[in-house]
């Protein structure tokens, strides 16, 4: 903020340039972002609340919501524990291969969801590395619920770790050392010293992870059999309804996911302002 008001004449663009660029920005963002967001709610509610409630009371829609919640409930805690462990291991110690490990953690972001699904088929499909063995124990992974869960985990592995690593890197380990030297146990040090320091970034990572877990489509669609009422998540159900020319029902479900993503964006700006506030405070204290 202070920067802008402090812009000298040398850095200030002519008024007409400002108007053109602001106009372009507003136009582009309206066309590209606001319009799609608006159209989801328009299509979901334009025939009144009735289509919306009918769409939601459908048995297949309900089981899709149930499966999405189940996959998210398994995936998010696992990736959160992993994120905490990975951030602790990579920021509190130095060991050979550390930067390679961090790069590998980031890989799922770079891999196309469809290719991620393909990888899981190669592993857990009937002819896959583990698929045959698991099948003989009666556990079907691909085209079943475990496959959906594994695909969801794969695409969201990095979210929490990626938020925590830079923050913990910056904070260093001095506070932890102080706690240990005052006689705190390892667990006390973690819960009383580390956790409060990383609370907001952790929350932010969990939030992003949850949003992505609920919305994943490509990877899940490859490993799911698309059997309605059985292995369909909400995004898959939206796809199925849309292909059945039942657009109102598809948009009704879509509007729920879209509301969640708006909530994510709101929480994100709130958390970011909190994180900024905190780092300013700690700068002042030093």
């Amino acid at each position: 903020m202070s920067r802008v008001s402090g812009l000298s004449d040398a850095s200030r663009d002519p008024k007409w340039v400002q108007w053109i660029l602001i106009g372009t920005t507003v136009g582009f963002v309206t066309l590209l972002l606001i319009l799609p967001l608006g159209v989801i709610f328009w299509e979901a509610f334009r025939k009144g609340l009735k289509t919306f409630t009918i769409a939601l009371s459908d048995r297949n829609a309900r089981s899709a919501i149930g499966l999405t919640l189940l996959a998210t409930a398994i995936c998010v805690p696992l990736n959160m524990v992993f994120g905490l462990a990975a951030a602790w291991a990579t920021t509190k110690y130095s060991f050979p291969g550390k930067s390679l490990l961090i790069s590998i953690i980031d890989l799922p972001f770079a891999i196309s969801p469809v290719i991620a699904g393909l990888m899981l088929i190669l592993l857990y499909g009937i002819h896959g590395w583990f698929g045959g063995v698991l099948q003989s124990f009666g556990l079907q992974v691909i085209f079943a619920v475990p496959g959906v869960v594994l695909a969801t985990i794969f695409v969201t592995v990095p979210f929490v770790a990626r938020e925590l690593i830079p923050v913990m890197q910056e904070q260093g380990s001095e506070q932890e050392w102080a706690a240990i030297s005052l006689g705190a146990s390892a667990w006390q040090t973690f819960t009383k010293v580390t956790l409060p320091n990383i609370f907001f970034p952790l929350l932010y990572g969990v939030l992003l992870c949850t949003a992505r877990a609920m919305g994943e489509f490509g990877a899940v669609s490859v490993v799911s059999s698309n059997i309605r009422g059985l292995t369909n998540t909400v995004p898959l159900q939206i796809d199925a309804l849309y292909n059945d020319y039942n657009a109102p029902a598809a948009f009704a479900l879509a509007s729920i996911l879209a509301s969640l993503s708006i909530l994510t964006l709101l929480a994100k700006s709130w958390l970011e302002s909190r994180i900024e506030h905190r780092s300013k405070e700690s700068e002042e204290n030093q």
């Binding site: 088929i121 380990s173 879509a254």
Partner: protein, 279 residues
């Protein structure tokens, strides 16, 4: 300082536990799946590979995927710069709202984006109708693929350039002006060169995302073989036909392209660090 010295001789507790769990999880969830694909791909014979890529349908799909992704990343870099510049340098009503909306394509499930884009750009949609009157088909055409890829890559371009613009040294602009340069000359000679690394990073990230995109594209694309079928969709249809070898062949090429792009980003970052390290 004593704490610093202690770190060199002693370790905080939890090293074995956290590193052990991290390695276990990463191996199980990331490394083994990737290894499975690479292993499968290495078992594909040269002949099978040639056969897969000789078919016109695969070639058309790769041309479309790479062409549309490159074009989308270019458009995103250009508009991403304008939007980032506007958000950092100017103050106007709605700035904060726009700033928080930039991440919408990240936050929105791709299938939801996909049907929303289709609803807008279909021949009956509000924008599609308009363009159809001018004789341009915005959906079920390569243009539709492009639109979806611009949507999905946009945040990458803005969010990599925004911090770079915030960190620009205003003193350099002042010095340039005091030496008699016009605002435009200063922009071209001083500002643009220092933004190039960020622009390149944003371009590469948007490109990598576009190459692998699936959900937001398949609805608006219409998936006509030879015309609007992207590589990700081709992998899916190969799987539906139970042609695992064909699916792996295409997947490995796309994966290799992504890894090359990732290395390029590393290279750019490394150069930036070396430059700033020297100063």
């Amino acid at each position: 300082m004593s704490a610093m010295r202690a770190t060199q001789t002693r370790r905080l507790p939890g090293f074995g536990l956290t590193l052990g769990f991290t390695l276990f999880y990463v191996t199980l969830m990331i490394v083994i799946p990737i290894a499975a694909l690479l292993f499968k791909a290495s078992s594909i014979s040269m002949q099978e590979l040639v056969e897969t890529f000789k078919t016109p349908r695969v070639q058309a799909s790769l041309r479309l995927t790479f062409g549309a992704s490159l074009l989308a990343a270019t458009i995103n870099t250009l508009f991403g710069f304008i939007v980032a510049w506007t958000l950092v340098r100017y103050r106007f009503v709605g700035r904060r709202l726009i700033d928080s909306l930039i991440d919408l394509p990240f936050a929105m499930p791709t299938a939801v984006s996909g049907i929303a884009l289709m609803a807008i750009y279909a021949p009956t949609g509000i924008v599609g109708k308009q363009f159809l009157a001018w004789g341009i088909k915005t959906a079920i055409s390569p243009l539709g693929v492009l639109i979806a890829l611009i949507f999905i890559g946009f945040p990458f371009a803005v969010r990599t350039m925004q911090p770079a613009i915030e960190e620009l040294e205003l003193e350099a602009e002042q010095a340039s002006a005091s030496l008699g340069a016009s605002r435009f000359q200063t922009f071209l000679r001083v500002t643009v060169p220092s933004l190039i690394p960020a622009a390149l990073t944003g371009f590469t990230l948007a490109l990598a995302r576009a190459l692998g995109e699936y959900g937001s594209v398949i609805f608006i694309a219409g998936n006509l073989p030879m015309r609007t079928e992207i590589a990700s969709l081709l992998i899916v249809s190969r799987l539906d036909e139970n042609d695992i070898v064909g699916a792996c062949a295409i997947a490995v090429v796309m994966l290799a392209a992504t890894f090359v792009l990732l290395l390029a980003i590393q290279g750019i970052q490394w150069r930036i660090e070396r430059k700033t390290g020297r100063n």
